[in-house]
C-alpha cells in the first residue's frame, strides 16, 4: 500500500487527476468519518470531505512526504471542519439541534444490529456534541483513527502536552455527560 501510495502521489503531483482519484478512493473513509463526527450531518460531511480532497489536490506540491499522507489529509479536514463550525456558531446552531445521528455505513449490516448501532450512535453523537471542535477532533483521531499523541499534535498543530490535556478534558466531559445520560435514561429503559 505504501509503495502504491507513493506511486499515485508522484503521478498526481505530475498532474494526473485519475491517480489522485485513487488516493481519494483509498482515504475517503477516514476523511469522511472525521468530517462526519465533527459536523454531525452526512450531507455537510460529504461537502467537507470533497472540499478537503480539492484543497489537498491543489496544495499537493506543498505536501511534506515525511508526514503520513492520511495525517496530512486529516489536518486539512480538521481545519476545514473547525472553520465550518466557527461559521455555524455565528448562526447559533448547536449539534444538539441537528437531526438524529444516523451513521452512514456499508449496506451489509442487518436491520436489528443497525437499529442498535443507530441508538448507540445517537448517544455518542450527543456526547461528542458537547465537546469543543478541537477536543472533538482529538477524540475522533484518537479513537477512530488510532493516531498517537504525537500524530494528533502534528495534525492539530498543537503541543503533545496540549493534546494530552485536551483528551483528558474531553474524556472527563464525556464521562460526565454519560452520567447525566444514565440518570435521564436508566439502564435497560433505552430502546424499550
Amino acid at each position: 500500500m505504501q509503495e502504491q501510495e507513493s506511486q499515485w502521489l508522484a503521478q498526481a503531483q505530475a498532474g494526473d487527476a485519475q491517480a489522485f482519484g485513487r488516493l481519494v478512493e483509498a482515504y475517503q473513509r477516514p476523511v469522511f468519518n472525521l468530517c462526519y463526527r465533527m459536523l454531525g450531518d452526512p450531507g455537510e460531511a460529504e461537502d467537507a470531505a470533497q472540499e478537503t480532497f480539492f484543497k489537498a489536490y491543489r496544495a499537493l506540491k506543498r505536501y511534506d512526504p515525511t508526514q503520513r499522507f492520511v495525517n496530512w489529509l486529516l489536518t486539512i479536514a480538521s481545519n476545514h471542519c473547525i472553520d465550518r463550525l466557527r461559521r455555524r456558531r455565528l448562526r447559533i446552531v448547536s449539534l444538539d439541534s441537528l437531526p438524529p445521528w444516523n451513521t452512514p455505513r456499508a449496506p451489509e449490516s442487518g436491520l436489528e444490529s443497525q437499529l442498535l448501532r443507530e441508538e448507540q450512535g445517537e448517544v455518542l453523537h450527543r456526547l461528542l456534541g458537547r465537546l469543543s471542535p478541537v477536543d472533538r477532533a482529538a477524540v475522533v483521531m484518537r479513537y477512530w483513527n488510532d493516531l498517537s499523541y504525537e500524530e494528533i499534535a502534528q495534525v492539530l498543530s498543537i503541543s503533545v502536552s496540549a493534546v494530552k490535556s485536551r483528551l483528558h478534558r474531553a474524556r472527563k466531559s464525556l464521562a460526565q455527560s454519560w452520567v447525566e445520560h444514565e440518570k435521564a435514561v436508566p439502564a435497560g429503559a433505552e430502546g424499550a
Binding site: 487527476a17 485519475q18 482519484g21 485513487r22 481519494v24 478512493e25 475517503q28 473513509r29 477516514p30 469522511f32 468519518n33 462526519y36 463526527r37 452526512p42 460531511a45 460529504e46 470531505a49 470533497q50 480532497f53 480539492f54 489536490y57 451513521t103 452512514p104 455505513r105 456499508a106 448501532r117 448507540q120 450512535g121 448517544v123 455518542l124 456526547l127 477524540v139 479513537y143 477512530w144 483528558h168 474524556r171 472527563k172 464525556l174 464521562a175 460526565q176 454519560w178 452520567v179 444514565e182
Partner: protein
C-alpha cells in the same frame, strides 16, 4: 492540583496505575461519590468509542470528486478564454480610442500623415515585390509568377487562420459556458 484532579488523571489515563496510587484511588473512590460515578462511567464510554463504526460516505464518492474536478477545470479554462477575449477586445478598443482622440485633436494632420504613410507603404511593398520577383525569376524550376501567387495565397491563409482561431476560441468559450449551465 487538588485531590480530585489527581485521581481523575488516574481514572482517565487509560493505563493501569502502580499498586500504591491504585490503592489510594480505590480508597478515594469509596469516599467520593462524584469520582466514583466518573470512574464507573468512563469504561462504558470507552466501550462506546471503541465499538463505534467508522462512518462511510455514500457509494461513488471518488467518482463524484473526479467529475466535480473536471467541471471545475472546464469552468476555469472557460474563464481564462473569456478573460483573454475581454483583454484582446479591450486592448483593441483602447487603441481605437487613442487613435480617435489623436485624430480629433489634430484633424488636418492625420489624413496627411495617413496618406504619406500609405504612399510610403505602397512604395515599400512595390520595391519589395520587385525584389522578390527578380529573385524568383532568377531561380530555376516553376515560373516566378506561380511562386508569387503561392506566397500571396500563403499570407492570405495565415490571416484567415488567425481569424478562424479567434472565432474558434470564442465559440469554445461559449460552448463551455453552455455545458456548465451558464
Amino acid at each position: 492540583m487538588d485531590e480530585h484532579t489527581r485521581f481523575e488523571e488516574l481514572i482517565f489515563s487509560g493505563t493501569s496505575a502502580e499498586a500504591g496510587p491504585q490503592r489510594d484511588l480505590e480508597r478515594h473512590l469509596q469516599a467520593c461519590p462524584r469520582c466514583r460515578r466518573l470512574a464507573d462511567a468512563w469504561p462504558a464510554v470507552r466501550i462506546e468509542l471503541g465499538s463505534a463504526e467508522m462512518a462511510a460516505p455514500a457509494p461513488g464518492f471518488a467518482a463524484r470528486w473526479l467529475s466535480q474536478l473536471q467541471r471545475d477545470q472546464q469552468q476555469r479554462s472557460a474563464r481564462q478564454v473569456r478573460l483573454s477575449l475581454v483583454l484582446m477586445t479591450g486592448a483593441a478598443g483602447v487603441l481605437l480610442l487613442v487613435l480617435l482622440f489623436a485624430i480629433l485633436n489634430a484633424p488636418a494632420a492625420y489624413p496627411t500623415a495617413g496618406l504619406k504613410a500609405l504612399i510610403q507603404a505602397e512604395r515599400l511593398i512595390s520595391v519589395g515585390s520587385e525584389l522578390l520577383l527578380a529573385l524568383l525569376e532568377s531561380l530555376p524550376g516553376p515560373s516566378g509568377w506561380l511562386l508569387a501567387t503561392a506566397g500571396t495565397l500563403g499570407l492570405a491563409l495565415t490571416f484567415a487562420g488567425l481569424g478562424a482561431a479567434w472565432v474558434i476560441l470564442y465559440i469554445r468559450s461559449q460552448a463551455l459556458v453552455w455545458q456548465n449551465g451558464g
